[in-house]
Symmetry: C2
Subunit: 372 residues, 2 copies
């Protein structure tokens, strides 16, 4: 039996991947260029500039890292941390916890500031920890994909900067779906993914590093533990006049990301953010009629990922069973809860191209049938 | 100006990427499934089985790693090595040297066994170093892409095994282009790339780990330094009954690899290897008439990558200039020499779908015009 079989159609309303736009898939079917071809390097330069616009930054070191968002997280932390360095990590979900784990593996002394899953980080608690520890790095998640909570970036980042700490921000789920303002917020390292609000397949991690972050990397006393993610080596290929081979860039994925960024910029970011907000409102209002209640308070709730407490009508049939029927009978994927929220919530993503009325209405119609 | 612009057609006869087959590009334009979708997990299982056939292994832990071949190298080394462990690395080109650097960054004590670039590793010298150092790991490159040299795997691996060392083998350029026999050779960890003899875009690294390698990982006294590449975490998603989310698998790249492996298995590996051998002979014979001389002795020369000393007709015009004209006037990419061989050689790849008479003849015709 061939490995590649006919694939079912899915409406991807989980925590990502979201459905890729046809223009992205068309881009990914184009013939390859070599990774040192002048035409490819010119495309890469235009892509870096497009990513700067999405991140709202002038950071020269803004590029598509050749692995998924989790590798972007690892790149940010292992470049900035040396063994024995202190880091303060905000943890109120899976991805904050992952940051702490990655930092530990880089030999850092990790101080976590916890908040209950489903609530946002407390800037006051972060500020106190930053003042007490005086860490090299302060790290937290903008849009926590495991809960649907948005953190107040500006305030925490300002306190970190006052203590001369570098700020690392996870923008995997927020980028291109709500405002991300690296320069205004004074963030030093940020990373994202392609499979959320950019409507590209997973596989790359757009990253951006400030001048201060680059200086820190250059001042390291020992090499970055990861050769693949070493920023000073990546700089030789992704920047500078002469492009030095480091690894072979994933040409096709980069074509896809180029098409995705083109679409986002063509639509315009304010319109795109508005579209995400409107779709989320339609979803919450519609699901309320079926008894679903948002986990997160409205003022700290993300638009592109909504966590919902399950009504009795779902619990009665077992939530896993309803999700499975949504998938197989209606072709719609939604996400399960993770960690302490497993079995308690669903996570519904309306990301990128899916942040429109039609996907919401399709989900509502399917649920009405399944829960009747 | 949009980031994605019309792209020129290229015949990719460098050290990789090679041209992707149309069936691979078609696969990559298919709509996405979620990374936990039962249909996607079934595809992943079939792909793992296909990769086992390519690697000639029964290793359960055989999977497509979510980053390029260089990350595959890093995964093999950082999982098997702990700080202070000894490793013997064969170095006769860029990629052997890279192995040594990656091992150093993992805290290992590195003993290199060097051979002149363009010649193969000396099994006797490797054997002596293995007996002297008694390392935890012995590591070398099957097909050295920087020179076009093939190493004698079986003999070195047998000596390593006698000393109870784990064997790591770089199969980036060899896999699916000439025999790779992990189980027969008793290799413990191997990695490859998709953009060489599999005629897929770059972006994934097929890897395979033996039971002995897994036992070593499980017996570690400290966690693997890389969270992204940690084999015990990857095992939770890629294997086992319940699939645990680790990172989001690059769905589209995996579709492409599935189509590439399907094609290789449909053709049959012996026929595919023969096709690579025949194309290489045609190339060497044809280029001899233009004064190009193979760098590597026939008995240790790779079929899919041929290094050639440049004739006076090329040097006269400057080799970089001739390569640039090949690219812009004839749409053909060939590779430059690296390190001590920069300016001395070209590297011509006939990989996967390009290992056929037509690409060879197109290159010969173009060169005849340029060097007339």
């Amino acid at each position: 039996m061939p490995i590649l079989q006919p694939l079912p159609d899915r409406l991807l309303l989980g925590p990502g991947p979201s459905n890729a736009h046809p223009s992205v898939l068309e881009a990914m079917s184009r013939p390859l260029l070599g990774h040192l071809d002048p035409d490819f390097l010119a495309l890469l330069d235009r892509l870096k500039e497009g990513l700067r616009t999405l991140f709202a930054t002038r950071n020269e070191m803004t590029l598509p890292l050749s692995a998924t968002g989790s590798a972007g997280m690892e790149a940010a932390l292992v470049n900035l941390l040396e063994p024995g360095d202190d880091i303060v990590v905000g943890v109120n979900g899976v991805f904050g916890g992952r940051m702490a784990e990655v930092a530990r593996r880089a030999g850092a002394r990790v101080t976590t500031v916890e908040a209950r899953w489903g609530t946002s980080l407390d800037p006051q608690a972060m500020t106190e920890a930053i003042a007490r520890v005086r860490p090299r790095v302060v790290s937290f998640v903008h849009a926590e994909t495991s809960t649907g909570v948005c953190q107040p970036v500006e305030e925490i980042a300002a306190r970190a900067r006052e203590q001369d700490a570098l700020v690392v921000l996870d923008c995997v789920t927020s980028l291109a779906g709500r405002p991300v303002e690296l320069d205004a917020w004074q963030v030093d390292a940020a990373y994202s993914g392609t499979q959320k609000c950019l409507s590209c397949p997973p596989g790359l991690s757009p990253v951006s590093f400030s001048e201060r972050a680059i200086e820190r990397v250059q001042a390291r006393s020992r090499p970055v533990q990861s050769w693949y993610l070493d920023l000073s080596l990546l700089a030789g290929y992704f920047g500078g006049e002469t492009r030095v081979y480091h690894h072979t860039a994933p040409i096709t994925a980069i074509y896809g990301l180029a098409a995705g960024v083109d679409r986002a910029l063509e639509e315009g970011l304010p319109a795109r953010f508005r579209r995400h907000d409107e779709a989320a409102r339609r979803l919450v209002d519609g699901l309320a009629t079926l008894g679903f209640e948002p986990l997160v308070e409205a003022h700290e709730r993300l638009p592109m990922l909504t966590s919902l407490r399950l009504p009795e009508s779902v619990r009665r049939q077992s939530e896993a069973n309803v999700r499975a029927r949504l998938l197989t009978e209606h072709g719609i994927e939604v996400g399960a809860g993770l960690g302490p929220l497993a079995g308690e919530i669903w996570r519904v993503g309306l990301m990128g191209e899916n942040a429109r009325p039609e996907p919401v209405d399709r989900l509502l119609e399917a649920l009405r049938k399944l829960l009747a």
